[in-house]
């Protein structure tokens, strides 16, 4: 490709004597232009992401507290990491997170794939209905969490009313957000409401990527619809489903805003997902060193998941 750009290569000296900056950029070689275009983004990411990350790593080895900036800082080595990995509260938070991630991903995948399968039947008006279904995932998770607290009000909430109407249990007999057995499910329901469309959209792309001639061949071979589903539809849509699962898994592992507004981690710590534990340690107890170490542990976990995610992503792309 570079041979065709030869006319743009003007010698550097000639460029430098031109006064206008724009002219200088115009005359730059491809290589210089590539760096000129990429460097600003890199500088920003280094300043706002990488430098803070390195700072966090440093803090995680110290007893620094953000609310006592002038106190002497002591080097603690890997003490915080040992404390965290043996702390039962942290493992409890990890269990809450695992419950949340597992059930949201299962429910969203089943419902999302089901919906995509139905929409792929291309009934009349499917475009409009698809757009309507997609709305919840575009909304602010914080605002969604906040208005679901209204729907979940034990006495006046619409959710309790509908459940009471359908099951006969009085609407004031249960509290979705105040009950230790119900609240972990209350956050799963809201997340599933919000993110099922996301899985649906990716699965729909998967279903639409399957060429018609494969089904035609299957019909010629007299394969039943059931058989076609299990041997063609599902395997061929699988990379897309995997992509959706991994993405939802990573996002929900980091979940903060929606849960923070719905329950704030309560009652007790029954819905205290990892990010809420981290926020409490960092911004309420001001244990900056400790929370930095926990942040690094979470980041390494997410980074590991992200690696798998990008590999899956490339596999989907190469199809």
């Amino acid at each position: 490709m570079n041979d065709l750009s030869a006319p743009s290569r003007i010698t550097y000296g000639a460029v430098l004597v031109r006064p206008a900056v724009v002219r200088r950029i115009r005359g730059l070689s491809d290589k210089a232009l590539a760096w000129l275009f990429i460097t600003p983004t890199m500088v920003l990411l280094l300043a706002i992401n990488i430098f803070p990350l390195i700072w966090t790593i440093y803090l995680s080895f110290t007893n620094y507290r953000a609310n006592r900036p002038n106190a002497p800082v002591k080097w603690l080595g890997i003490d915080w990491y040992q404390t965290i990995l043996t702390d039962p509260d942290i493992w409890a938070a990890m269990q809450v997170t695992a419950h949340f991630v597992f059930w949201t991903v299962v429910i969203e995948t089943v419902l999302g794939f089901g919906l995509a399968f139905l929409i792929d039947k291309k009934f009349r008006g499917h475009g409009v209905w698809t757009t309507i279904i997609l709305l919840p995932m575009m909304l602010s998770p914080a605002v969604v969490g906040n208005f679901w607290t209204f729907l979940y009000q034990p006495q006046i909430g619409l959710f309790n009313y509908v459940v009471a109407f359908l099951t006969g249990h009085p609407a004031s007999s249960f509290q979705m957000l105040g009950d230790v057995t119900l609240s972990p499910w209350a956050i799963v329901i809201v997340d599933a409401w919000m993110w099922t469309p996301y899985v649906m959209l990716i699965c729909l792309a998967g279903l639409r990527s399957i060429p018609d001639y494969i089904y035609e061949a299957a019909e010629v071979d007299r394969a039943s619809k059931w058989r076609q589903f299990w041997s063609i539809t599902l395997p061929m849509a699988l990379p897309f489903i995997m992509l959706a699962v991994l993405f939802r898994g990573i996002e929900n592992f980091k979940m903060f805003d929606m849960v923070n507004l719905l329950t704030g981690g309560g009652p007790g710590s029954t819905t205290e997902v990892a990010s809420i534990t981290l926020k409490r340690a960092a911004f309420e107890s001001w244990r900056t060193g400790y929370s930095s170490a926990f942040a690094i542990i979470l980041f390494v976990t997410v980074f590991g998941l992200a690696n798998i995610y990008v590999k899956a992503l490339n596999r989907v792309k190469s199809r």
């Binding site: 006319p7 990411l45 706002i48």
Partner: protein, 317 residues
């Protein structure tokens, strides 16, 4: 289901299948819309109607929620209110019927304005940086290209709270705490990863031959970028910008931890709207409704590009 009996193509679903699929999808869509419709309805209810049991579907519309959202009110004795002149507008009228007078504007408008400034500021920056980088990655041989692209994506994978701890300390040190500029820079850094990945996909689709032809005609590489590639990439740039806007508009975790009075955006503000004796639900619903309207518009505008956006450009239709 034999082939002979189906008049249409074998891969086309039968009319009955279509009807069944259609009704199930419509059922899901209706159920999933109930919470949103309920919030919009609640924003037009009076406080008493909003918390009535059983929930009221038919009610007399009231603008009290919107009034309470935009004003602060103070309680007064009926005798005092009688000494005042005629009510100043609709909201004052409603307030007086509850033995209150409008004391001044609320903080919602400044928060909404902050949301607008921060969302647009960070979007413009992220899209500008993203377009340049995406073009660089798309057209030039950059050393370690795949590693750099993965690095850019991985910055988006960090849990926001983990990022917020050092950012909080850094901003405190350099004086960017609770400033719009600080939030714009932070949101730009989050959005630029999406912008680079999405725009690289869009620019990859523009045939290189266009630029090469332009360069044979005497354009420099930079002129070809500005005059040939940018116009071709307009749709992609617009779609990317809307995605960045939506992220910045919706963001809560950074906003609640890093801003307080000055640069606070709407999402951390809406949940703390309280009236006398607890949460003022019609006002909260009104704030939510106003906040969600732009998102609904954007979603409709974006519907063709949604898939690309949510998968970082990995899946295209």
């Amino acid at each position: 289901m034999s082939i002979a009996n189906t008049a249409h193509s074998v891969v086309e679903p039968s009319p009955n299948t279509r009807r069944l699929a259609g009704s199930l999808v419509v059922l899901y869509a209706v159920v999933t819309m109930i919470p949103l419709v309920w919030i919009v309805l609640t924003s037009f209810k009076s406080p008493d109607d909003a918390i009535s049991y059983p929930p009221k579907i038919v009610f007399t519309p009231s603008l009290e929620g919107f009034c309470n959202l935009f004003t602060t009110r103070s309680r007064q004795t009926p005798e005092f209110i009688r000494t005042l002149g005629p009510p100043q507008g609709l909201c004052d009228d409603i307030a007086r019927s509850r033995n209150m007078v409008v004391a001044g504007p609320s903080n919602y408008v400044p928060r909404f304005v902050n949301s607008l400034i921060i969302a647009f500021g960070s979007t413009v920056l992220a899209v500008a940086l993203g377009t340049l980088s995406a073009y660089g990655f798309s057209r030039f041989r950059v050393p370690l290209k795949d590693d750099l692209l993965f690095f850019i994506l991985s910055t988006r994978m960090m849990p926001p709270i983990a990022v917020a701890i050092p950012i909080y300390l850094m901003y405190r040190t350099i004086g960017l705490s609770d400033t719009r500029l600080g939030m714009i820079l932070l949101y730009t850094s989050v959005n630029v990863s999406l912008a680079v990945w999405l725009l690289k996909g869009f620019i990859d689709e523009i045939p290189r031959e266009y630029e090469e032809a332009a360069m044979i005609d005497g354009y420099t590489r930079f002129q070809a970028f500005v005059k040939v590639v940018l116009p071709q990439a307009t749709t992609g740039i617009a779609a990317t910008a809307i995605f960045c806007l939506i992220f910045a508009w919706n963001e809560y975790a950074f906003a609640v931890l890093l801003t307080s009075g000055n640069a606070q955006t709407a999402p951390p503000f809406i949940p703390i709207i309280i009236g006398e004796g607890g949460q003022d639900w019609p006002a909260v619903a009104a704030a939510t409704t106003l906040f969600l309207v732009p998102i609904v518009v954007f979603t409709v505008l974006l519907r063709k590009h949604l898939l690309r956006g949510i998968t970082f450009g990995a899946v295209r239709k």
